[in-house]
Amino acid sequence: MRTYLLKRLFLIVPTLFGVAALVFVIMRVIPGDVTALILGGDQTGRIDRQQIDALRHQLGLDQPLLVQFGSWLWGVLRLDFGNSLWTGRPVVEELLVRLPLSLELAFLATIVSVLLAIPLGMLAAARQDTWVDYLVRVVSIGGLAIPSFWVGILIILFLVIRFGWGPPLEFTPPWVDPWANFQQMVWPVVTVGYRYAAVTTRMTRSTLLEVLRDDYIRTAWAKGLGERTIVIRHALKNAMLPVVALIGTEFAFLIGGLVVTETVFTLNGVGRFVVDAVAHRDYPVVQALVFVIAGSFVVVNLVVDLAYAWFDPRIRYR
């Protein structure tokens, strides 16, 4: 177990280095120049060549790529992600402005999805191939199929037509005004929660189906236990591990992956931040965000794998 842990921890290094190198190269390959964008805004007016060169020098973009990459990596090791080329403020500061919204959305959506998914998945598995199972499956496959941005458009449309309500432009944190925060977050949370409930329901159903075929469940039936006891007390416990693992990885994804939902609901979260940064060719911001998202993905995956080894005595890692 200890060697496995050490090996896994060691393998994080090349993965994150690879991600860092990849994002660095990709950002430099994308056509478009941040200096021209800063100086010219969105108009395609004439920009002085000298001005561009001066700005490039000031931002350090005239140095060889390897030097730029090296100094960026050195900064990352000291947890310094540099300054945004666009606003000039430290990337970490910019990120911290947007993180509460994304975290709140991810957290609430996860709660909604778990509250829906586990009972529904359980019900579907216990009644496999009956109309209850079919209904749950249709609803959950629907959750995967319906694009979240379309649900968002429909919800906003409904609210606008019905109540003349439009999404507010500024984010109100829950500690400032809980009610205003609730009004702002409820629809995105419902939209995202439904989608992730669908994913989790399916996982709950299929792992539970596997467990319900095990010998010890047959024994439980044979000794005359009720269905409720068997499903909840005996089967669910053993089926929960992959489900919890899935919830963990989904949460890691939710923090940076809600670009489309944030766009529809005009929420200024981490996802939008990435898209804007790519559009602005704001290299340090994109690099930092990709690095942070990939890093949390890798760490969550490691934790999930270790949890498997910890909770399931049948799994032994070398």
């Binding site: 393998l11 090349p14 991600v19 390959v29 496959i141 199929a145 906003i156 993905f297 890798v298």
Partner: protein
């Protein structure tokens, strides 16, 4: 054992089960997996619409008529018209073509490349395996949407570039699943036997390992299909996919659809239904296929 794989092989893999003909197989699938059959019907419907869009669509999807801007759904225009007076029904029908083209090519290319890498990785073992695994780890950890965004920005908005942007994130996911299966298949005695007979590496991989990883391959392929269609819609919605005037479902929902949504909600309504229905069909079918192919989930 035949090297050719078919649905019949797995479904009838229970000891001494009678071999079924293809028709009997289909009938059995419909009877035991009604949801899957429903999915298949939706997919077939989409295929027919996509293939025969010229004949089925009542109007030219590109030709606008300013006299007809924002016409409500009516007998002439079932789904109404958009801000240029173009027929929404015709655009949705042609949109099936883009969606299915992107969905099929991206998921097929991504899954096949991934499967190939997975098999090679598992069969070679050692340094090759380690290196390929790390590469796949990097691609997996890299946020999918940013990768797609970057590729779309580098290559420019065009259908074939959308395909590339969607294909790449599928590769590591397919590779991982197939590698795990191939590792198990590799340990079988028949593989050892053909190796002992002096079969070439290529022959062992393509004749003896590949046919046996087809079940997971088909499962990830059908799952990737729905995801690819959704990804195309999302990219186009964000303005990074196909460009106007191409009738893509995601594009029809972006920009104008939301700004005119109050005045003409049908512009946003029908393309969304089309996307949902298509992905729904593929997932429904894929799910039932997985249940049928996965012996652990078969009712015993």
């Amino acid at each position: 054992m035949s090297a050719h794989y078919s649905l019949a092989d797995t479904a009838a893999s229970a000891p001494l089960a009678p071999r079924l003909t293809f028709v009997e197989e289909v009938v059995k699938f419909v009877r035991t997996k009604p949801l899957g059959a429903g999915g298949a019907v939706i997919i077939l419907g989409m295929l027919v619409v996509a293939l025969f869009a010229e004949r089925l669509a009542p109007y030219d999807p590109y030709k606008g008529d300013y006299a007809l801007q924002f016409a409500r759904p009516s007998a002439e225009h079932w789904f109404g018209t958009d801000e240029f007076g173009r027929d929404v029904l015709s655009r949705v029908m042609y949109g099936a073509r883009i969606a299915l083209f992107v969905g099929f090519t991206a998921s097929f290319a991504g899954c096949s490349l991934g499967a190939l890498l997975g098999v090679v990785s598992a069969y070679s073992g050692g340094k090759v395996d380690l290196l390929l695994e790390r590469l796949m780890d990097i691609l997996l950890a890299f946020p999918q949407l940013i990768l797609a965004l970057a590729i779309a920005s580098i290559l420019g908005p065009a259908v074939q570039n959308v395909v590339i942007a969607i294909t790449i994130p599928i590769i590591p996911r397919a590779a991982r699943v197939v590698r795990a299966t191939a590792l198990a298949v590799k340990e079988n005695q028949y593989v050892e036997a053909v190796q002992a007979l002096g079969a070439l590496r290529r022959r062992v991989i393509f004749q003896h390992i590949v046919p046996n990883i087809m079940a997971p391959y088909i499962i990830i392929l059908t799952a990737a299909l729905g995801a690819a269609i959704l990804a195309e819609a999302a990219l186009s919605y964000l303005g990074l996919g196909t460009a106007e005037p191409t009738p893509s479902w995601g594009l029809m929902l972006s920009g104008s659809a939301s700004s005119y949504a109050e005045k003409a909600p049908w512009i946003a309504l029908f393309p969304g239904i089309a996307i949902s229905l298509a992905v729904f069909g593929f997932n429904l079918f894929g799910d039932s296929l997985r249940d049928a192919l996965d012996p652990k989930l078969r009712r015993g």
